[in-house]
Amino acid sequence: MTPEVEEAISELRQAFPDSAVTAVADAHGGAFMTVDPVLIGEQWSPAETWIKFHITFQYPYADCYPHFVIPELRRADGAAPGEGIQVGVSAPDGQMATQLSRRSNRLDPSTDTAVVKLIKVLEWLRSR
């Protein structure tokens, strides 16, 4: 893994001390990440999930996008998940998942860290 990817992994472990943060190296210097568990709010069923995403070798100049959560994610009120959420997709490791498509179109490599991106995605999901 590149030094930048390793630093991102270290920051993720520091930011989520109560979760298992797992990194699996890809073939190019990046890493497939899993953070388990994360809390996403009582409006979702279940209210807790794992979350997966890819930090590519181009990090921090490439976005960490998309993110994936459990395939059985549903809204507690039975409503449709809403925009930016696609069910029945495969995560990078081949596991069935629900995709969270939140793209950082104005990426700033100096501030848009993998930790900041993950926290923003979780904040977005919790606010829906």
Binding site: A15, P66, S101, S104, L107, D108, V115, V116, K120
Partner: protein
């Protein structure tokens, strides 16, 4: 002299996107932090998402959220994300 010293002591310097930003009050909202940062040359927009850097990671600070600043307060402001089909 004492009044001037008291007035000056209210000013606090924090960090936003690695740049020093001065504020007059220690209890401020997320919006006030962004407004001060922009006024002092930090290259962000008002619609950027603000996060407080804490020992165990970052915490999102909304525009109406109030925070008590210290000289160690460090913030990251990033552009918001957009829904997209991968």
């Amino acid at each position: 002299m004492t009044q001037m010293a008291d007035s000056k002591s209210k000013t606090i310097t924090i960090t936003v996107n690695k740049k020093a930003v001065e504020l007059e009050d220690r209890r401020v909202t997320g919006l006030e932090i962004k407004q001060a940062a922009i006024a002092q040359g930090v290259r962000i927009q008002l619609d950027f998402q603000l996060a407080l850097v804490e020992p165990r990671g970052e915490k999102i600070i909304g525009d109406k959220d109030e925070v008590t600043l210290t000289k160690h307060s460090t913030f990251v402001a990033t552009a918001g994300d957009d829904n997209s089909e991968a």
